[in-house]
Structure formats: C-alpha cells, structure tokens
Amino acid sequence: MAGGQDLLPSERPLRLLDETGRRVPGAALPFPDTDRLLDAYASLVIGRRVNDQAGALVRQGRLAVYPSSHGQEACQTGAALALADGDWLFPTYRDTAAVIARGVDPVEVLTLLKGDWHAGYDPYAHRVAPQATPLATQLLHAVGVAHAARLRGEDTVVMALCGDGATSEGDFHEALNFAAVFRAPVVFFVQNNEYAISVPLARQTAAPSLAHKGVGYGVPGHRVDGNDAAAVLSVLDRAVASARSGDGPQLVEAHTYRMQAHTNADDASRYRSDEEVDPWVARDPLLRMEAFLKRKRALTKARRAEITERAEAVAAAMREGLAEDTDPEPSELFAHVFSSPTPQLAEQAAFLADELSREGH
C-alpha cells in the first residue's frame, strides 16, 4: 500500500504502441529507450522461434506435449527483461519462452516435456523456479522466496507468473494477501490470454478486470496491453522498481490472447471460432514491435540478420538437444525422494535393479 497510491487499475489497458506500431499519443507511461526495445525485439523473435520449434518437435514426436505461448511473447519477454540477475522468476508450464529468455538452456527447460524428468534445470543457476504445473501454488513460493530475501536485507524482486484461470484458485488470493501483509517484493504478473483450456474469461470472473482483484488485498493493480512489448516492459519495469523500493507487491494484468490451442492435444475449434481469433492476428506483438523499430529506422538489416541468427541458433540447439533418443536411468527414481534413501527405498531400488538385470538391461 504505497502511500496515497490508487490501488485501482486504469480504466483501459495501458498502451504505448498501437496495432500498427505507431506511438500512442499522451501515454501515461515512460517509453523505454531504443536499445531496450531492440533487446525486447530480439527476445520476441527468439520467443516466437522457440514456440514454433517446440511445436515442430511435438509433431516429430520429440516432445510429449507443448503449451505454446504464441501470441504472448511480449509478456514472456517482458517478464525476463524486467528482472535483474539477483531476482527470481516463477514461471508456469506456458512460460517456456520466458525461462529461455532468462538464460536457461532450452534443452534443459524441455526435459519436462520430453519426459526425461520433471524439472530439468537447476533453479538456483538462473534463479528460475521449476515451471509450475499445478495452478497458482507457485505464487506462494514466490512470496516465501521474496520474504526470505527481505529478511536478509537483500533487494531481490520476485516475478510470479500465472494465467487468468489461476486467478480463480485459492492460492492466488492467499499469495496476494500474504505478500501484501508482509510487504513482500513480488510482482504478480497475470497473462490473461482469455482461456483456461476451453473455459473463457467470462466464466472465471465477474470482476471488471483481473487487476481489480488487487484492491481487496491492498495490492496496486495495473492493466497493460499484453501484445504491446514496449508497454509490457514499461509497466513491468515500474512494478519491479516499486517492489524493489519497498512499496510491497504489485499486480499486473496483461491482456493478450492464446493464439493456439491449450496444447497440441487440445482442439480449440470445439470452443472458439475463427472469427474470434482473426482480429488477434493483426495484434501480433512481434509484428507490432518490428513495425515500430523499422519506422524508427532502428532495426538495420545487419541487426535483423544478427537477431535471426541468434533465434536460429536457439532453434538448432533445441533440435540437436532433442534429436537423440534418451534412456533415463531407472535407479534415479529412488535417488532424490529424500536427501538419502530410506531403508525401504533402498530395498525397492535393489528390487528394480534386480528385475532389470534379469531382463538383461
């Protein structure tokens, strides 16, 4: 509860660029400098390439499943770019592009969807929590990480991601409340992509917006056009700065759209029409930023080529890293349940080892 600050979000989502990539006049937000927007653009291109490549890997049978963030790359990018090295990111299963943007090895990220193990990367290496599969539970962990950091006098900020569906879960509300009561430096970043699998936003909430939910907890709410990478970055920068300066948690709702089905296993035609999806094609975050940078003559041919090359390198690393058939080690099933196996687990590990040796493994 920053002194005197209005907790209610703006009437409409904040915007810096319109759908054609032109600056919106009189925007009540600082406009990020061009270098930062070029970084954002590079991250958008890579994020889109990650989504496309992961989709292809599913079709080739290299990944079991992939929940794509196609269309939400401005949010993915913003979540990673708004953080400092010492900050933490708490992503969900749909935030693979954000995790990669934060610097985690894409192949390690995809361990989960490849089926070799659950979380494939070291959460401490880049301060990225395991991608959360249950909804909203990770928001409370984010509060705990932030509170612990604050108790030690560190200036860590935690960016906690969730979707519109997760705002209906009890843990979303408990997390906002705990964060507010303890003034934990958490930015709750809701990517409202209009759908929780098949269920539209209207069935999740009757609130004026998801950002309005903050007021009940004393948390300032902010709304932003989630397909405007400049606005997302600006709003998240401001929220991170507020949290870091001791103003307590912030709630940011990005209005975006899930362009693809929930995962490759889902059939979106059963619950939404092409007429609904079509207008969102024109709101593509990548094209919008590209149009702006081109018009500003900030995106040189050389720069663009360099970015494309980086994106292709990430895609190639994903293909190469997933090209080999892997054979995860069965004995590892018992290795991490406890810090050291119980006598019962040692017995069961021996049983499995014996079974495997008899099968000639």
Partner: protein, 330 residues
C-alpha cells in the same frame, strides 16, 4: 539448554526445542496462526516472539495453504521454516502444497532444491475436542512419498525429535499428540534419544508385542501393566518414526514374542496400523503364532466429545485383542 534432568511437560519440551533451535540457527523461523504474542493455542511457541523478535516468530493471515506455501519459498531461499497447523483437520487446506510441493520438490528438481522445513501438527483426540479438532491424519502424510513423518510419545522424544526434524535437510511432518501435551516427565535434555527412523522398545516383554505410536503408546503401556498383573508379559514398541519406518526393530521385537497387536487411534481402513500389520506379517510370518491384530478407531468420522471414548483404543480393547492371539494352540 538445561544441563540437569528436569521435569517438563511435552508442551514445554517442544517449546524448549524451538527455543534452542532458534538460538542455535538464525535461519530457523517459526510462523503460523496465533503463534506470536499469544504463543499458540497450545502455548508451544510461548515467549518466542518476545525472545527472538517479531521477525523470527510471527503470526500470519489465517490461511494454511498460504502458510505452507510461503514456507516452501522460504526453505527454497535459505531458511528453515517451522510452521504450525493449529489443529490436525485445519491442515487440510494446505494439502495440495504438502502433497504436490513439500513432498516432491527435491525429487522434481533432481535433488537440487531440498526443503528443510517442519510442519507441526497438533493431532489426534482424547481431549474432548469438538469436530475438526481431533483427526488422526497421519496416513495422508505417511502415504505421500517425500515426507518424513514423526509422532513422539514421550517428553524426551518431543524435544529431541523436533530438534532433529528442524535440522533435517528433508521436510518433516511433526505430529504432536494433543492429549500428551500436559503430561510431565523427567527429562535429560543433554542425553539424546535414538533418532528419526528408529523405533524403540518401551517395555520389555516375552508373550506378545504391542506396536503403537504417538497418543497410543501410553495406552499400550497401561495395557501391558494390566496384563502383567494377570501374569502375561507384553512388550511395547514405540514406532516414533512413521516414515522412515524401522522394520528391523519392530520385526525383531515381534519375532522375539511371536505375537503382535498394532494399536493406533486412526480409523483402521487403509491406515498406518494396516501398513504395519502387513509389513510385520510379510516379514515375520514364520515367527508368528497368530495373525497380527489391530486395535484402531472405527471407520467413522471422529465422534463428538461425549462419544469419543468409544473411538479410542482402550486398555480393555488391547487386552481383548491380546486374548485373541490363539493362546490355546500353544
């Protein structure tokens, strides 16, 4: 820490364990509902806020999932949280956090993220509590891989097992038998008891073995005393550590007598008592003179106070079960 044997209640021993752990390790944080200035509804955290400050022992909003979820994050980030669930049945809102995160995080992350945290749960009945205050919820936790589950029955165990739980690199569900909170025993806090993962023989005996834990241990000991007066020698094993379970000690005890009765307050169906019965039967079959018997609560929701005596394992029920162990075949 006290240096001489002292008389303490279990509540005081738990309080001392928290106090000593907090004094020794500044990463130990205690929080939950009413644990601050009030000292907890059972006074287990009495005086901790005054001694260590409001940051080390603090009240939270009233939301158990929030308490456990926040503890997960703090444990991820270098702290050793010790949280209190006010009563057994009030822990259920936290169950997703416990089953999906507390229990699984080390495994999910291939051992990279351990969660050194303790969830203290005042549990079980026998105190005339109204509904939702007397559940024996141990089976939910014991069934969940990744959780260490402990239930002390003595004052010394309450102290040492809690100290060990707080020092453990793994998450521990620490079940405190409410009805034993106020019993006083002489305890030497400088002479550690056997650790987590170990069962102990509380009373030697040669004719049959009573296997119990937590609130049922004193009842089993009373039953053994009554049996002794009738000329029957009953051994009593205190399980102490439900996970990991000490098969070796329990089985050695059962083999030495050839007969066993498992005693627990929880409803019997799909219970820890059932698991112990199955384990003992599988491992000690050739030493058994009779099927292992169970004395447990009925498969009913915990009764209202005026009916709870019918639910709790009693000395008579234990002795009746012992009588049923096919003595006539000898």
């Amino acid at each position: 820490m006290a240096t001489d044997p002292t008389k303490l209640t279990m509540a005081q021993a738990l309080n001392q364990a928290l106090r000593d752990a907090m004094a020794e390790d500044e990463t130990v944080y205690v929080f939950g509902e009413d644990v601050g200035p009030l000292g907890g509804v059972f006074r287990i955290t009495d005086g901790l806020t005054a001694e260590f400050g409001e940051h080390r022992c603090f009240d939270t909003p009233l939301a158990e999932s929030g308490i456990v979820g926040m503890a997960v994050g703090m444990a991820m980030n270098g702290m050793r949280p010790v949280v209190e669930m006010q009563f057994d049945a009030f822990a259920y809102p936290a169950f997703e956090q416990i089953a999906s995160h507390v229990a699984k995080t080390r495994n999910r992350t291939r051992g990279r993220v351990g969660l050194p945290m303790v969830i203290r749960v005042p549990y079980a009945g026998g105190i005339g509590g109204v509904e939702h205050h007397c559940d024996s919820s141990e089976a939910y936790y014991a069934h969940t891989p990744g959780l260490t589950v402990v239930a002390p029955s003595t004052v010394a165990d309450a102290y040492f097992l809690l100290r060990e739980a707080i020092a453990s690199p793994d998450p521990v569900v620490f079940l405190e038998p409410k009805k034993l909170y106020w019993g006083k025993e002489e305890v030497d806090l400088t002479a550690p008891e056997p650790g987590i993962g170990t069962a102990v023989v509380r009373r030697p005996g040669t004719d049959a073995t009573l296997i119990a834990y937590g609130p049922s241990v004193p009842t089993a000991l009373e039953a053994a005393e009554a049996a002794a007066q009738e000329g029957r020698s009953l051994q009593v094993v205190d399980v102490r550590s439900l996970v990991p379970f000490d098969d070796a000690t329990v089985c050695e005890a059962v083999r030495s007598t050839g007969r066993a009765v498992v005693v627990a307050e929880a409803s019997g169906y799909a219970s820890v008592a059932s698991e112990i019965t199955a384990r003992v039967t599988e491992r000690c079959f050739h030493s058994l003179a009779a099927p292992v018997r169970r004395v447990t609560g009925f498969d009913i929701p915990y009764p209202p106070p005026k009916l709870e005596r019918f639910q709790l394992p009693s000395v008579d029920r234990i002795l009746d079960a012992v009588d049923d162990l096919q003595w006539e075949d000898q």
